[in-house]
Symmetry: C2
Subunit: 373 residues, 2 copies
């Protein structure tokens, strides 16, 4: 038995469920903070857990380059290495190879590339990606795929998708099954309904523990992204978790949950935290703004995070002006808490069959105050 | 009643005592972590307290420039602003004006200087330093003094010391007494026994709640520093706390405690932590060293800090190689814990009348393994 998924409630297309893995349960809809290099930047794992995160994402590409999957395995696996005892999902490396590495050469076999760190050459194939994620000990392994560029012609998108589907089969063949560990396939096909349908069907044919929608959040905009979800989701099995990769802002997440997505990951809350941008019920706030210099209020009333319970906007402003590390730590803590509170709100709303009311209430307030500050 | 000091045990010249302040007790000998800009770099205040620190030091010079003492007072004072509810000592600004600011002009009245941040002009006098420290709400206020350069002629040292003594009187006159808050005088006189004696006598004449030894740890070396303590300490009142400013490495602290010093502050453990240097029973270790890449052991066996209880040397090495903030946080946490464990060891040893044995045991092990790694 790999990992299991149980749906407890539905509201429209949205689902409230639980994924059970070797390292515990993931309440869905779930948001996964990103711990690229075996650490969520600026946070201790205890702090990440305190925000309410059930699972985090780490990056095959970064870890294979430094410190290497073999070293992490020697140190007892990624959970022990980074002191995170809850579930971990790792991406396959495909996306970062395309976006970060140099001198890529893609063939049927896989990708040969040079490290962005020191220029040394690496070979990444579906089989090697499965081996790396196995060595890391990921609870959820992602199939190795090619990240289709955007925009792209339908012909190119089809060629890329077909390659990813052959790599998906090889990923499945190479994946070593373990109790409580699972493998997710990734639907490609860019913005073309026919290709997305074909891709979804190919993956179902192979059979995966969960299904991700890839190739989005690459500049296509929210409207087009939602449209792709609208025509892709009906082709995904209803009884398996669905993961929208690399998404997104709060309003992206709400719309995707309303369309039946169960899992998300994104660097936005952590990256924004390091760059003085705080998420609140009233939209984003730039803590560097001079108007916060003497503002004694918490960043967000009733937020349970330490940035809000123990400090003023004035202090956060001071930390960013003085370039003190604690500013990034506190604001990342807040943003991750804000995201997890949003996910809890979505889960509760689905349970109560009030998802649309919740979404509307959130978005009206969130967008009302949006202004360049 | 300002702050009180009670000596519980003595061993030779060393004392184990308690300073009681408005924000709680300070067990002595005490080490004060430095929170320059209203934050101990990379640490939450909860983490600082967990290391065992009873008090921290913050900097008048930095805070007067940014965000300003008036703003901190408006936000409820420094304790509330930075969420640290234990005692705080602030320096007077004299040292940083000399070491950091530009275009200084020193007169009998005080110092006019330009901010190192934006070049704007400030005026710092004994009266203004007392006002700033009062606005911050420091439990222990330091008298405003001139930091005598090193090396210096006896004539120059005397001139500087005499100015500092006149400023000490003005500091005392301007200091506003409050229950549980105290003012410390600073002995100057460089390395000259006669000047140190004169300075100590001048301060005793004025009368302070504690006495600091200033103008050391400025490049004179440990031997000369200990020698200055040897001829200065007999002139300080036995019933008041004694504070050696800006010191030091573990062996400096041990030698100074053996000579009767009760309080210390230093950026070494925090700065070293940000630069990958960890303090251990076996000396300093550079966590960037390749030999730690696959070392599964904790940095220091039996250390109660999270860096040692939850992570390997291998992981710490990885964090520094990947330039991840968590490396600085964990190693600062460790170094501060190491320092506080040393202070507890010193306090226990004094109570048991075994200070010399403790010092010898510590230093033999600490120095044995010292090697450039």
């Amino acid at each position: 038995m790999s990992l299991t998924f149980k749906i407890n409630y539905t509201d429209g297309l949205a689902r409230n469920g639980v994924v059970k893995t070797a390292h515990g349960e993931i309440r869905t809809p779930a948001f996964m903070p990103v711990g690229t290099a075996a650490t969520v930047k600026g946070m201790t794992p205890e702090a990440v857990a305190q925000t309410g995160a059930d699972i985090l994402l780490s990056n095959t590409y970064h870890l294979m380059l430094r410190p290497s999957a073999e070293l992490i395995a020697k140190m007892g696996g990624l959970h022990k290495f980074m002191n995170w005892n809850k579930p971990i999902l790792t991406d396959s490396g495909g996306f970062q190879v395309m976006s970060l590495s140099k001198l890529r050469k893609i063939s049927e076999h896989g990708v040969v590339f040079k490290s962005h760190l020191d220029g040394s050459e690496y070979n990444l194939t579906p089989e090697r990606s499965m081996e790396i994620q196995h060595l890391l000990g990921s609870d959820i392994t992602m199939a190795f795929d090619e990240c289709t560029p955007f925009p792209v012609s339908e012909e190119e998108a089809e060629k890329s998708m077909q390659l990813s589907m052959r790599w998906a089969q090889r990923s499945k063949d190479a994946f070593i099954k373990r109790e409580g560990y699972g493998l997710f396939g990734i639907v490609q096909g860019s913005v073309f309904p026919k290709l997305r349908e074909e891709s979804a069907n190919a993956l179902k044919q192979i059979g995966f523990d969960g299904y991700a929608v890839g190739g989005l959040a690459v500049g296509e905009g929210q409207e087009l992204m939602f449209s792709v979800l609208d025509f892709t989701m009906p082709h995904l099995p209803a009884d398996r978790p669905r993961y929208l990769m690399g998404v997104g802002k709060p309003d992206d997440i709400i719309g995707a949950v309303q369309r039946g997505i169960d899992m998300f990951d994104c660097v936005i809350p952590t990256r924004a935290g390091r760059f003085a941008r705080g998420y609140t019920d009233e939209g984003e706030k730039n803590l560097r703004n001079a108007k916060f210099a003497d503002d004694p209020r918490p960043l967000q009333e009733n937020c349970p995070c330490p940035a809000c319970t123990s400090y003023s906007r004035s202090y956060l402003h001071h930390l960013f002006k003085a370039e003190e590390m604690l500013g990034a730590t506190l604001l990342t803590w807040h943003n991750l808490t804000f995201y997890q509170q949003l996910m809890q709100g979505l889960r509760d709303a689905i349970e109560l069959q009030k998802l649309n009311e919740f979404a509307e209430g959130f978005l009206v307030k969130y967008r009302k105050e949006q202004c360049p500050d």
